[in-house]
Amino acid sequence: VLSSLGRGISLRRSFLGEFSERLVRGDPKLVSSLDWVELVPENFMGRGGKIRRALSPILEAVPVSFHSVSLSIGSVDPLNWEFLSQLREFARNAGVRWVTDHLSYSSVNGVQLNDLLPLPFTKNAVHYVAERIRQVQDYLGVPFGLENPSYYKVMPGAEMPEAEFLSEVLRLSDCRLLLDVNNVYVNCFNHSEDPQRAARRYLREIPLDRITEVHVAGHKPIELGGQIKLLDTHGASVSEPVLGLLRELHQLLPVKTLLLERESQVPPLDSILEEVSGIWEDLVYSPQHYNTHLPQEARI
């Protein structure tokens, strides 16, 4: 078990300068409400100038993880070794705790699709993607994990449910899990008749001991084909059902490393700090936090 980092947020370029400046001067609100940050490395790799100047003090003072979006681990295209080479160098120089991406694909025949698309839940896909994961984590040389993605369509030919697919991929690749609780809820809402029950079942069917970090984010309801569906937008506060599911996860295994994602309609930094602090305190001051019957290595 790698992680016990506490509360974190994804570092957005819209508040990078403000974050860096407040960190350098020891702003009490920033320092007291945050333990670590995550960044999308593609946004920063190879960047110099003011972006590098703003990022440097953050990398020195705060635990950092990378959450990339371009790996396309499930694609039938060859792995992008140029990207992986730059990612490895950046990760080493930044001293990251770990690198994560998504259990999905985003390119076909060299065409970038600009979204994270779902894999079919088949044995063939399990073996294919597990082999690529092993190659990537061996190459990167830092702890590596994959996120359970949101998906709006179950690909044809499924031979197993999503939880089993995810579990098998993690087992065969010996890979860590970034569990996105919002994605669990969004997928269960969109693909089952009883989302709460389906989400609870999902949490009990995946290998929680592989979790490196937990994501929460906001989603947006839309009407699609006459039905209400949820879009994984990262553009709103975390919904109450997702917070409920997070509490449920915390009962199963204390959450020690939590990250709030906000990608669109990004509010002021202080609002994000207040939201993640509120979510964290809700967990920390819950009775489950003091649950000591689980061995240390079983905690998230």
């Binding site: 076909v108 025949n109 600009n114 698309l117």
Partner: protein, 105 residues
């Protein structure tokens, strides 16, 4: 797996909209995202080469876009890399923008 992914590519970029609402969602989401990205790339490039173009100053436009919505397309990420320094000196950028624009739309 390859057949499935190639079908998705065709679904997203092909001429006919899918009948499955879920796949239509992917198509619209990706088109919208790509259009935003390529629109900027195109505007930036055209703005850099065609001085009569009525775009906002391209550097300001690019910074604003990048701060709000960095594209996931790694190839376009590379295209934006350090653009404020070398974009005007790279004539192939306009060709790339024209090509991308015609290919996707």
């Amino acid at each position: 797996l390859r057949e499935l992914q190639e079908r998705m590519l065709q679904t997203i970029f092909g001429p006919l909209p899918p009948t499955d609402p879920a796949l239509l969602l992917y198509r619209e989401s990706i088109h919208s995202s790509l259009q935003e990205t390529l629109d900027l790339l195109y505007s930036v490039t055209r703005g850099a080469y065609e001085k009569t173009c009525q775009n906002p100053p391209w550097e300001e436009l690019g910074e604003r876009f990048i701060s709000q919505n960095w594209p996931r397309d790694i190839r376009l990420n590379w295209a934006f890399k350090n653009f404020s320094e070398w974009l005007p000196a790279e004539p192939w950028m306009k060709e790339l923008a024209d090509y991308e624009w015609s290919r996707v739309f």
